[in-house]
């Protein structure tokens, strides 16, 4: 099954917009969760959980590569591709 990156990106941005209560124009793949949106550790924990639930994946607690919205999208795409293989 091919993973559609655009769809995943849209869904990730939807979640970030809703949970962080920011306007959509503030959220692009380059947007950094902590530095640009002011997320704290609890926000990050909640976002990770939302991503896990939305995409039915598991994100390890020590996953440190996810800083921006784009990082999250790439991580999810990779996970889904591996799961599809």
């Amino acid at each position: 099954m091919a993973v559609k990156k655009e769809e995943i990106q849209k869904k990730v941005i939807d979640i970030v917009v809703e949970r962080m209560e920011v306007t959509r124009d503030r959220v692009t793949p380059e947007t950094r969760l902590i530095e640009d949106l002011g997320a704290d550790s609890l926000d990050i924990a909640e976002l990770v959980m939302e991503f896990e639930e939305a995409f039915d994946i598991s994100i390890p607690d020590d996953e440190e590569g996810v800083r921006s919205v784009g990082d999250a999208v790439d991580f999810i795409v990779k996970q889904l591709e591996e799961a599809g293989e």
Partner: protein, 424 residues
């Protein structure tokens, strides 16, 4: 103790099922309006109990965004809103100068504390996340669960929001939590450790598990068909309390500090009596000795005589046991003859019983009562009970020149807390 430090009430805030805010809640109580209704917050079809005192829109958005409010359980939202109203009512503003936060025209924020009570804490959040655990597994339990359910989240969030850096903790003594918090807050000021403390109590127990727990304990009224008459303290036909939610905050302040910044003063906090029944975890000691000692200790601490007491704001839950034993305790404390001369009423007849919030709501109402010279009524009083034979101010508010009032709170666990306030 720093001898001579006096404590006054300079601000009030209430979140109640009656109306938004302290002034409108007081107006409703003076008019004898009922705030009990069929539960709207959840589906009660499986519950025996279908009535409660529920809070409608209470304006959390005046203080924080949705995103921030989602981090607080409903119970702590009540605390935050009532505390905000009380600080505004007290005319307290803050300023920062060279990194030091202080009350405008007053002391450093390091001398301002928060002592806030709750009987249970974040029950709603705990229930919702427990359901998620069962339905979806542990990995789906919210990271906000712990910071929302913890019973000190009320005090912690008030301190964080207002930048209050002095003493800060929560007291938990079931239905006496509010009164205990107020007494401890006054202590902190009298002893010289604080100059101002935001205190009070809050509770949001009208949840599926909360209501089921209390109904299975046999504590709740079964008058589902007539919600407005269900809470009937001291009446012979009473059959249990009506569970309710809410919160109230008082700004307590050292007298000279309040005067120097030109604050309005509702009342002086005179003293308290804290005792324990040391008897049973839910049932009161039938001798009434625990609350009677509490009342006597409060009068002694407040240096007021029995004749000075113009009104006793009773715990008066509307359970068969409480009202009978509280009546006995009042008679033991004052003596039969003197007790019959003191007006005693229960505002729970209108608001229901909001557990850890109740003592704080009642203390705030006592302040309004003294200011306006009006004693709140006990509504739904129709059939006298030979075992409850005091003046309960039945069914209509009464004008009276009130100088000293006493408020009693009696909690599961045998915790008794009585406080004395005086008009100055």
């Amino acid at each position: 103790m720093s001898e001579g430090r006096r404590v006054v009430v300079t601000g009030l805030g209430i979140v109640s099922p009656m109306a938004p805010g302290g002034p409108d809640t007081w107006e409703g109580i003076k008019a004898g309006r009922m705030a009990i209704r069929r539960i709207q917050g959840f589906d009660t079809s499986g519950h025996k109990t279908k009535i409660a005192g529920e809070v409608d829109e209470f304006g959390i958005d005046r203080f924080m965004s949705n995103k921030d409010a989602r981090r607080l359980d409903r119970y702590a939202q009540f605390a935050l809103v009532s505390a905000g109203e009380a600080l505004q009512d007290a005319g307290v503003e803050f300023e920062e100068s060279e990194g030091v936060r202080a009350v405008k025209g007053g002391i450093s924020a390091e001398r301002v504390g928060v002592i806030f009570g709750t009987g249970v804490g974040g029950m709603k959040e705990f229930e919702e996340q427990t359901c998620r655990l069962v339905a979806k597994g542990p990995s789906r339990v919210s990271p906000f669960l712990i910071p929302k359910l913890m019973p000190n989240a009320c005090a912690g969030n008030i301190a964080i929001y207002w930048g209050l850096k002095g003493v800060s903790f929560s007291a938990s003594t079931a239905c006496a939590s509010g009164a205990h918090s107020i007494g401890l807050a006054a202590d902190s000021i009298m002893s010289g450790r604080s100059d101002m403390v935001v205190t009070g109590g809050c509770e949001a127990p009208v949840t599926p598990v909360g209501v089921a727990g209390f109904e299975n304990l046999g504590a709740l009224s079964s008058r589902n068909e007539d919600p407005e008459t269900a809470s009937r303290p001291f009446d012979k036909e009473r059959d249990g309390f009506v569970i309710a939610e809410g919160g109230a905050a008082l700004v307590l302040e050292e007298y000279e500090h309040a005067r120097n910044r030109g604050a309005g003063i509702y009342a002086e906090f005179m003293g308290y009596g804290f005792t324990s029944d040391a008897y049973h975890i839910t049932a009161p000691d039938e001798t009434g000795e625990g609350p009677a000692r509490g009342i006597r200790l409060a009068l002694e601490a407040g240096k007021v005589s029995v004749e000075d007491v113009g009104y006793l704001c009773a715990h008066g839950t509307s359970t068969p046991y409480n009202d009978k034993i509280e009546t006995l305790a009042i008679k033991k404390a004052f003596g039969e003859e003197a007790a019959r001369k003191i007006p005693v009423s229960s505002i729970k007849s209108m608001l229901g019983h909001s557990l850890g919030a109740a003592g704080a709501i009642e203390a705030a109402i006592c302040c309004y009562a003294m200011r306006d010279g009006v004693i709140p009524p006990t509504m739904n009083y129709t059939t006298p009970d030979p075992e409850c034979d005091l003046d309960y101010v039945p069914n209509a508010a009464r004008e009276a020149d009130l100088k000293v009032v006493l408020s009693t709170s009696l909690g599961f666990g045998g915790h008794n807390a009585c406080i004395v306030l005086k008009r100055i």
